[in-house]
Subunit: 568 residues, 2 copies
């Protein structure tokens, strides 16, 4: 039989002993009261149950490992559950009431992992804030979310120095003297050992749970409010789809603040997996863990995956690792590159769809198969069906034909959809027009009923009356062996109306090859494109750039590129 | 990469072509209407969604294989979904209205597999009836369940020949001319190709779904009514816990009529697994499939597992198979025997608890580890917690100490519990006294918070003031190398009040050894017992019998044994 506890051979846990307040009492009970008025055959779906169950069944299994810092920390499930309980009591002691928002401004570290469990345990709503935002943007979110308290990591204190909202500071030491640790200890004292039984359970599974703000490429960020029920079902589906279990080690490459950590804070507790927290996206550290820490799963947007694949000391992994890719559509080229080094991509689109391997693909060459794998696929196990509809203004949504060509908008509904844009009825109404969440993403539906994103509506290039998908063009351009990343936008053209313009970064090892020869590279890339794309989709212009502008979550900012184009 | 479609090398599918009415139209859509009045972020949990999703994503994957009959049949997911749709329309055409009960009296075969999906698709309630009951018992269930229609297999027609309820007969041929096939064709015609869209979805996830009658060892059988929500969450948990997926082949050893097939009719569709239906528990057929049909999973009560392990042509399986054991508690000896031949037992208790392997057990000898694995363990992933409480008469349930000794009653609540005993408020109220479902099973709670069943209350033997668990005694007696099965009951004793009496069947290969030497065997077994049990638990009497009386679901009927003992 396989060993049940993953090992962390590169880390020395001997030096670390959790504070006495983090140790559960000998008679700890992982049970909460039954909310009154429920029939015997019902309990509200609440992801907190996963942590309690994990701590009950596998108390000594590693839950959180935080190795790559000055003060490493390692928490077993039972110790972690106690710390979560302490934080929940501390929040209540502070004055947090049901439905109150508590903000978190922190990198991947124990504090934010605690917060994802403890704020809901105190019946609050967690609002994790992107650490790459400006102080002004953060101030807006704090105000809009009505945050009553901020949990803030020492590295980001400067971003909230002007706020009047009370803050708890973490120095990320896990040691006595750390204000965050002191806050936890206060919680433990305040609990008077009432334990989980003393924390009132949330009776309504439809209650708000996490409040994550959009990055707001256009206009003000909006607060996406998800529910307990939606998170529960999303986390279960993710654990199932990616085969996470007690033997899994989940590496936090994705910032945990990003869109509720794609539900993986709870998918990991559902599966009773170990989580390794990394403060920053550091390729040497990531590769170290992939090689030496029994990592089995990680999430990352395509841009992070590209960095990982192109890291100079890449090697083929002996034990396959599952990489969950979402955030934006990966190119077929990226998928193929990951597979070559032993990383199995699971390509998902939000919590709504995933790509499902088909037997008929197995005989295909890797590049061909990767094209199929780059499609967004089918609806998630616990999601309702996904549709691709015409962009009608009225409420009657019309499905596009399943021809793999006709472009429509992806719309979704059901348990994995957000409940609302927080306190923004108008925006919610608009997003839900027609009884579906309007994603704004443009896609086709293939004859097999699977979905393939083409572009967001503004990313379609109308060239001589033809609709060219900038994503489809990018998919082909990136297969050029010297290209690292590429972004295509529309640029005005006197004859064709619009024509594609490609912004390209070169592979580090190929930069010297094309130095002062950008014109020659342009000719080479266009020749490459003409073999693979129709004329109207071949880029008219190619600009080699040192880097592409990206949002704080790693998405390429086409808005910026369009601004540049406008000035040409 | 692994092949995605399991192979059935022992069967020749060439001969079988589904009827034209079973072939979906080219533009088939696997989508139902959205029930009115729902917010965008909610859809009712309904296990029917699993089949529709399976048919959409893997239309050509084998869903149902029915090989070991005169007329074998093989249905892919798309064909099966069409047949389910046809049956749903046929039921509506017949006059089935929402909440109407439709009974099924059939062995494992395509019809009952269809019924588990189609009756809920028509918004009816499925009532699968145990084929081993008497005509009188069946008549009672048909009347009590208010069945409007019976789907009946040719082998069991004689059991319902006096009923006035209309019946649809299946000759289990899957061919034209079979009344069941004609019923499906009627459904297809009646549908006028309205497809899934034309079948009204069930708006209430709390609606009754399956109505399964208890075997009624004491008194009349009771109708256990489960809900859509409960079944959905139970099926997802089972698929997750047993790691069923697209590569899995589930062998129907357990009768599908038994307690909703332990939710595996839907766990299999959730996982898009293949199902092989076996009309009867035939060890040669089971072993043939274990060896040759890529079987990965099956369910069975301990008695079936014992038969399987003791089949003469047993061999160690090359690819491990997962056996889900429930129905009654397996002995440690059985668990160890299964592991020796490459069968990994997953021991569950109803849909409430399962045994979870612990790392600390791995170093133990197999027999020792199996003892741990024979415990009922911890609450299921999607269940609420399980408790062991004192048998108080008032509503205030008191947990027993976690000492592994104090016996109490297992009580459970939450989403995996039945909604009610159908039309029996009094029995429901009694079963739910104290806000929990009172299982009637006696257990201890160990210091690690796991549960171990001792006995049903009447199986405790009070010997000289000591409580002896008949199950614990059986666990030890069955380790005697010549014993096949054993059942222990209390027998009156002038001095001690009660003493254990053991009824034993011998292993087939050992029957000759002890022929006309039952007294010697008794001495041998008692000596074996004394080494392992306290004096008060050592059996005072041993009876070697040719077979043990069993219920129609394979449970040993201690009631019968007690009757025998009363006459001694």
């Amino acid at each position: 039989m396989k060993p049940l506890t993953p090992r962390f051979p590169t880390v020395d846990r001997n030096g670390f002993v959790p504070a006495p307040e983090s140790i559960p009492p000998p008679d700890v009970k992982y049970r909460q009261k039954v909310p009154p008025g429920l029939p015997v055959h019902k309990h509200p779906l609440n992801p907190l149950a996963f942590l309690l169950r994990g701590a009950l069944i596998y108390p000594d299994h590693i839950a959180i490992a935080h190795p790559d810092v000055k003060h490493p920390a390692y928490y077993t499930y039972s110790v972690w559950a106690q710390r979560v309980q302490n934080l929940a009591y501390a929040l209540i002691h502070f004055g947090i009431k049901p439905r109150d928002t508590v903000a978190v401004l922190a990198p991947n570290a124990p504090m934010i992992a605690d917060a994802y469990q403890a704020i809901p345990a105190a019946r609050g709503v967690i609002c994790p804030i992107n650490t790459r935002l400006t102080p002004l943007e953060i101030a807006y979110i704090l105000e809009h979310s009505r945050a009553k308290l901020i949990l803030v990591d020492y590295e980001y204190v400067h971003l909230v120095k002007d706020t009047k909202i009370p803050a708890i500071l973490s120095n990320d030491t896990g040691r006595a003297g750390d204000p965050y640790e002191e806050f936890l200890s206060q919680g433990r004292r305040f609990s008077r050992e009432r334990g989980w039984w003393g924390l009132e359970p949330e009776p309504d599974e439809d209650a708000g749970f996490a409040l994550c703000y959009t990055s707001g490429t256009t206009g003000r960020p909006k607060g996406v409010l998800t529910t307990l029920r939606g998170t529960y079902l999303g986390a279960v589906a993710n654990a199932y789809e990616t085969k996470m279990d007690i033997n899994s080690v989940y590496l936090w490459v994705l910032p945990m603040f990003h869109a509720g950590g794609w539900t993986y804070p709870w998918a990991a507790t559902f599966a009773v997996s170990a989580q390794i927290t990394l403060r920053n996206v550091s390729y040497p550290l990531i590769w170290n863990h992939l090689r030496n820490s029994s990592v089995t799963h990680y999430c990352g947007a395509p841009t992070v995956q590209i960095g990982l694949v192109n890291y100079p000391e890449t090697e083929k992994l002996l034990k396959p690792v599952t990489a969950i890719i979402a955030g934006s559509a990966p190119t077929a080229h990226l998928i193929a590159s990951l597979e070559k080094i032993g990383i199995n991509p699971v390509h998902t689109y939000g919590p709504f769809t995933r790509n499902h391997l088909q037997e008929s693909w197995l005989a295909l060459p890797l590049e061909e198969r990767a094209k199929h794998m780059a499609r967004q696929g089918y609806s998630y196990t616990t999601a309702d069906g996904v549709r691709v509809v015409y962009q009608t203004e009225d409420e009657d949504l019309q499905d596009v034909p399943q021809d793999g060509k006709t472009i429509g908008e992806i719309v979704v509904r059901g348990n994995l959809v957000m409940r609302e844009y927080f306190t923004d009825e108008k925006a919610t109404e608009k997003a839900f027009k027609g009884g579906y969440f309007r994603s704004g993403d443009l896609a086709v539906m293939y004859p097999d009923g699977s979905v393939g994103i083409q572009d967001r509506s503004k990313d379609i290039i109308i060239s001589g009356g033809e609709n060219a998908s900038s994503l489809a063009i990018e998919q082909e351009l990136v297969t050029h062996p010297d290209v690292l990343e590429v972004a295509v936008v529309a640029r005005g053209h006197p004859k064709w109306g619009e024509r594609p313009m490609a912004f390209v970064t070169l592979h580090p090892s190929k930069t010297a090859k094309w130095e002062n020869k950008h014109k020659e590279f342009e000719i080479d890339l266009k020749a490459h494109a003409r073999k693979r794309l129709p004329g109207f989709a071949t880029p008219e212009w190619v600009a080699v750039v040192p880097g592409l502008p990206k949002t704080s979550t790693g998405k390429i900012q086409k808005v910026e590129l369009r601004k540049r184009v406008a000035k040409l």
